[in-house]
């Protein structure tokens, strides 16, 4: 069945709310407004204000309330409007949720799911266009997911709720309207990376909103006779190094596409790990295609220029293979 990324997320949420009375959704504008990206439209009427809770504009407060509810036996889903606002809740996520199991000697954990939109590309300007997934991927104690397909948008929530520890899910703002076939069996793991396009000559490793761009680039490269494999990380922490190592051992070339800024990026972590684990399989230096290191511009042409784009990926691969 064809559906949008937004619809797939909504279906997953609805299923969770219907199947488990411990599950509730809270965040800014999730109720009356239907969610900043309209994911929870109609939920207030369907599930009532007890389970679809509009919160004050205090990320620190309501994320903390989510942690408390999780410790108390509930299965809260906290929606943070965008990753930039999540910086206000960092203390609850990094210093509390991620550490509870450790600091209680295994007595408690916080099985909550935090969803947030991330990324640029919609002319939302510098303060609402961040890709800070790597900030969370840095922290032990939380699992970080980046659904980039309709299937993962539909399937990742259930295992995330089943995880006994906190899970952060990043939904890229640019792909809510993406439409595609939803696989009939959308159930999935939240442990492994996926090969989205098999290929033999170069591995394009990416995640989230950069996956559609990378697939477009791979198509273009195929027309030029370059057979690229596209890997979707899916899980940003812990990284599935087995899949990454396997693809590099096959193609001997790695290009990482990451919307984060290059300095201190997840792409940098992947290059480091591949160098540590697959040094003797690399045939060219790994390459990173990241956002330009500038505050995200508002102007459309400048924003486009600052982000990874299919043309940039194609050009980089072409240069690496023909140089």
């Amino acid at each position: 069945m064809k559906m949008s990324y937004r619809e797939a997320l909504r279906e997953a949420l609805r299923e969770a709310l219907r199947n488990d009375p411990r599950v509730f959704l809270m965040g800014e504008d999730v109720g009356k407004y239907g969610g900043a990206y309209a994911v929870s439209k109609g939920f207030l009427e369907e599930f009532g204000p007890e389970r679809i809770r509009d919160t004050p504009l205090s990320e620190l407060g309501f994320t903390g309330a989510g942690v408390g509810a999780a410790c108390g036996g509930m299965r809260p889903i906290v929606e943070i409007m965008t990753v930039n606002f999540s910086l206000l809740a960092l203390d609850q996520i990094v210093n509390t949720a991620a550490l509870l199991r450790h600091m209680s000697g295994g007595q408690f954990s916080a099985p909550l799911v935090i969803r947030m939109a991330t990324g640029a590309g919609r002319q939302l300007a510098a303060q609402h266009s961040h890709s800070l997934e790597n900030w969370y991927a840095h922290v032990p104690g939380i699992r970080v997911l980046a659904p980039a397909t309709i299937g993962d948008a539909r399937g990742m929530l259930a295992p995330a709720l089943a995880d006994p520890d906190p899970v952060v899910i990043f939904e890229h703002a640019q792909i809510y309207n993406l439409e595609d076939e939803c696989p009939t069996d959308w159930r999935c793991d939240i442990a492994r990376a996926a090969i989205r396009r098999p290929g033999s000559q170069v591995s394009l490793i990416t995640y989230g909103g950069s996956l559609p761009k990378t697939l477009l680039a791979a198509d273009e490269l195929a027309r030029e006779g370059i057979d690229a494999e596209v890997i979707d990380l899916r899980v940003l922490r812990p990284l599935d190094m087995a899949t990454l190592a396997a693809t590099v051992r096959k193609t001997h070339r790695a290009v990482i596409v990451d919307e984060g800024w290059k300095t201190g990026s997840l792409a940098g972590e992947i290059v480091a790990r591949l160098t540590e684990e697959c040094f003797y399989d690399l045939d060219i230096p790994p390459r990173r295609i990241c956002s330009e290191e500038v505050p995200m511009p508002y102007a459309k042409h400048l924003e486009d220029a600052a982000l990874p784009q299919p043309a940039k990926i194609v050009a980089a691969v072409r240069e690496l293979l023909n140089a």
């Binding site: 001997h252 003797y280 399989d281 060219i284 140089a323």
Partner: protein
């Protein structure tokens, strides 16, 4: 600025192939340190440097053939200011860049990357370059192909021919320029044999002494009285050597021979000499000699007794001025004090340079050598 030039590793050497560097720019090196491996016609030789300094630039890349005297590297004296930051971005002296995957594949396919042209970023050798080179190599190889070698192939395959040429040059020079005279003396070996048997009693096989070691030590002791047999003749004059570095002729299984130096033989115990001789033979046959071992010999000793010959008429290895040859030790009828007896004996010969010594002194040397071999306990 100091220049480290390719030394002549023997009178017969006029060029060599740099196989590998053992130092890199910025390294501090000391006199006697091995800095490079050079392939001569005889072996891959560990070349030692003869002064202290800090390596500035390696001028020759591995794989290059260079004449004796060519500058291999420049060094700066210890304590000297380091030069301004290096100006040349990349010189041809740097080895070619090769990707890690290509390097691994090259080992697996036994392809020498030195001969491969890189098509990767910045001219780096890639996996595809190595695989293509392997295919080409396979196509060119004759049907009953020997296993491929890693080092520059032409050098190794031609080594036997090269060595033959080198021996030809050295021996022709010797016979053309050195007026040889020859002397021989039959020396009783009963005492030496008896002493050796006793000395080896109770020793594990690996520590047993060989007669060759007694003979070498005896030669070195005898040379102390006859310095005109021990040294080098260069530029029309003889330079006696302060110590006896005996060139030990070692035949190679694939043909040819090398006579690397056993240093300071007169000052070492038989046990030490035995260990060093074993090591020298092993390394000679493995082709890993040090440059000093190839150049320092002051006289050559050859022992062809094991091959069954009675007497050796040697050819001097220039610029040395003498060669001592030992034949087979065998039972001989011997007359002493009017009585006939059977004793083990060996014929020892001396080939010497008449420009430096005369038969009279040579004869006295052989007598002295005989005397030493009659008192093995003092060796």
């Amino acid at each position: 600025m100091l220049e480290f030039k390719l030394p002549s590793l023997g009178a017969d050497m006029d060029e060599g192939t740099l196989l590998d560097w053992k130092v890199k720019p910025g390294d501090t090196v000391g006199k006697g340190q091995i800095v490079a491996i050079v392939d001569t016609s005889k072996a891959a030789v560990d070349v030692e440097i003869w002064f202290d300094g800090v390596v500035e630039e390696l001028k020759v890349p591995p794989g290059e053939r260079i004449p004796v005297g060519a500058v291999l590297a420049t060094l700066r004296e210890l304590g000297a200011e380091s030069p301004p930051p290096p100006v040349p971005p990349r010189t041809s002296a740097l080895p070619p860049r090769i990707s890690p995957a290509a390097r691994k594949r090259a080992l697996e396919l036994e392809v020498d990357p030195l001969g491969v042209t890189g098509t990767g970023p910045g001219g780096a050798i890639t996996l595809a370059d190595i695989e293509q080179a392997a295919v080409q190599a396979a196509a060119q190889m004759p049907p009953p192909s020997p296993p491929a070698v890693h080092a520059p192939a032409p050098v190794k395959t031609d080594r036997q021919a090269e060595m033959r040429k080198a021996i030809a040059a050295a021996m022709s020079l010797s016979k053309r320029e050195i007026p040889h005279y020859y002397l021989a003396e039959t020396i009783p070996m009963a005492r030496a044999q008896a002493w050796l048997t006793a000395a080896n009693t109770g020793r594990p096989i690996t520590e047993r002494l060989l007669m060759a070691v007694l003979q070498l030590k005896a030669v070195a002791m005898a040379l102390r009285q006859y310095p005109e047999l021990n040294g080098h003749y260069r530029d029309g004059s003889f330079q006696p050597a302060p110590a006896a570095h005996l060139g030990v002729a070692i035949s190679l299984r694939q043909g040819g021979l090398v006579a690397p130096a056993l240093h300071d033989v007169g000052d070492k115990t038989l046990e030490t000499l035995m260990g060093e001789l074993t090591d020298l033979v092993k390394r000679t046959r493995a082709g890993s000699l040090k440059s000093s071992e190839l150049t320092d010999a002051t006289i050559t000793v050859t022992n062809l007794g094991e091959q069954g010959v009675e007497v050796v008429h040697g050819v001097i290895y220039p610029p040395q001025v003498a060669l001592v040859g030992f034949g087979r030790i065998s039972e001989r009828a011997w007359v002493e004090n009017g009585a006939l007896s059977l004793i083990p004996a060996v014929i020892v010969s001396l080939a010497a340079d008449h420009r430096v010594s005369d038969g009279h002194r040579g004869a006295l040397f052989l007598t002295e050598l005989r005397r030493w071999l009659q008192q093995p306990e003092n060796l």
